[in-house]
């Protein structure tokens, strides 16, 4: 009996040591890692919430002014392009009309020159008539009539020649000005054409830039979504590990409970002091049931009734 009591005491001592280790381990599991990981988890959740809000805002922006073909920016670019096209067409039309008018003026100057030549030809005939009148006057022994006619014809011829010279000079000036006008017209047409080309290229460049921006923001949003999903997934995985720790802790406490029961039973049977005073009570009560516990491979199973 003494031997059995001694054996029971030894076993109780071992139980006590085992329980001390279990309680220490449970405390370590529950206190050391849990608070840190929970704090990290809360930070991750906050980061995910903030990032989620920013991503949603970016998505709204993308859907607004630069989003698609019907966005505000796309419409503004198209409107600006239409304005430039209309103004360029108006200026090009004015330049073409100017060229037509210059051509008409050139034609009219040629007509004036031809008319001046004709006047010169007629004036030459008038001079011949004046000479003839003077000859007739000398034949008629100084006929006053022929002499007067000769004088008047000579005066008229001089006046015509003077007026025709003015017309000639004017026509010459205009003829010289016309090529200059044509050159200016060509230069103006070239400037308008260059402007239209440059404007078109710049508008196309802006359009391309907007499309690139749209693509870049879209890609960034998709990458952010993936990154956030990854963070959430990692966070779930980290917390799942703590869940396992929680399960381990509960299992250890259950074992602790069994050891305590066994210890009390041994103490009762053999009259040995159990010595539980230094072991803290269970921190996690368990609902008791006589059934055999299910296999842990069923963990995660969802049963809906």
């Amino acid at each position: 009996m003494i031997l059995v009591a001694s054996l029971a005491k030894t076993m109780l001592g071992r139980f006590r040591k085992t329980r001390e280790r279990i309680v220490a381990r449970v405390r370590q599991i529950n206190q050391t890692t849990e608070s840190d990981v929970l704090a990290a988890g809360r930070h991750v959740q906050r980061v995910v919430e903030i990032a989620g809000r920013h991503i949603a805002r970016l998505r709204d922006i993308l859907a607004g002014p630069v989003g698609d073909e019907d966005s505000d920016l796309a419409r503004a670019i198209r409107s600006q392009a239409d304005h430039v096209r209309q103004h360029t067409q108006t200026v090009a039309k004015a330049v073409a009309e100017h060229a037509t008018q210059v051509s008409a003026v050139s034609e009219q100057v040629r007509s004036i020159t031809a008319a001046a030549r004709e006047i010169e030809r007629l004036n030459a005939a008038a001079r011949v008539l004046s000479i003839n009148a003077r000859i007739e006057a000398s034949r008629s022994s100084g006929s006053a009539v022929f002499s007067t006619i000769a004088n008047e014809m000579q005066q008229l011829s001089k006046a015509i020649a003077s007026a025709n010279k003015t017309v000639y000079d004017l026509a010459n000036t205009m003829e010289k000005a016309v090529p200059q006008l044509v050159r200016q017209n060509h230069h103006l047409a070239h400037v308008v054409e260059s402007f239209a080309l440059e404007a078109r290229e710049r508008i196309e460049a802006v359009d391309r830039r907007v499309a690139e921006l749209r693509t870049a923001v879209g890609t960034t949003l998709a990458e952010s979504d993936n990154a956030l999903a990854e963070v959430v997934s990692e966070s779930h995985a980290a917390l799942s590990k703590l869940q396992f720790q929680d399960v381990c802790a509960q299992s250890l406490l259950q074992i602790d409970g069994w050891l305590a029961d066994l210890s009390r039973q041994l103490a009762g049977d053999f009259g040995v002091e159990p010595g539980h005073g230094d072991i803290p009570p269970e921190v996690h009560p368990t609902v008791t049931n006589d059934d055999v516990e299910v296999n842990r491979t069923e963990a995660g199973e969802v049963m809906l009734f």
Binding site: R42, E298, V302
Partner: protein, 119 residues
């Protein structure tokens, strides 16, 4: 946004359930044990997810106490626990639990169960 009351003495489990459900568009309210949960149940709550082993009042006691009040007879309750004994599951079933999930749980399965029971 549907409100789910999560009852567990483990902050880890409460946080993980909260994270999974809030990601799925639910609003989560937490209680640390059965007594705390009884004080927080109100008509705006769509469903309860409840641990079994908890101090003060365990999950099964809380469920039975909840069903004594006619207002909460039909409120869906799912037990989320490390326990898997058929006797406990049977007791929960008799008290009107709608489901039993064994920890550690998978977030997507938990969310699917909540979606089904709150649909």
């Amino acid at each position: 946004m549907k409100k789910i009351l999560v009852i567990d003495d483990s902050p880890t489990v409460r946080q993980q359930v909260g994270l999974a459900l809030s990601q799925a568009g639910y609003q989560v309210i937490e209680a640390v044990d059965g007594v705390d949960a009884i004080g927080k149940v109100d008509p705006s709550i769509a469903m309860l997810i409840c641990d079994v082993n908890m101090p003060r009042m365990n999950g099964l006691e809380m469920l039975e106490k909840l069903r004594e009040d006619a207002r909460w007879k039909a409120l869906p309750v799912v037990m989320l626990t490390t326990e898997g004994q058929p006797g406990l599951i049977d007791r929960a079933k008799k008290a009107g639990a709608k489901g039993w999930i064994i920890k550690p749980f998978k977030a997507e399965l938990l969310v699917a169960a909540v979606q089904r029971l709150t649909a």
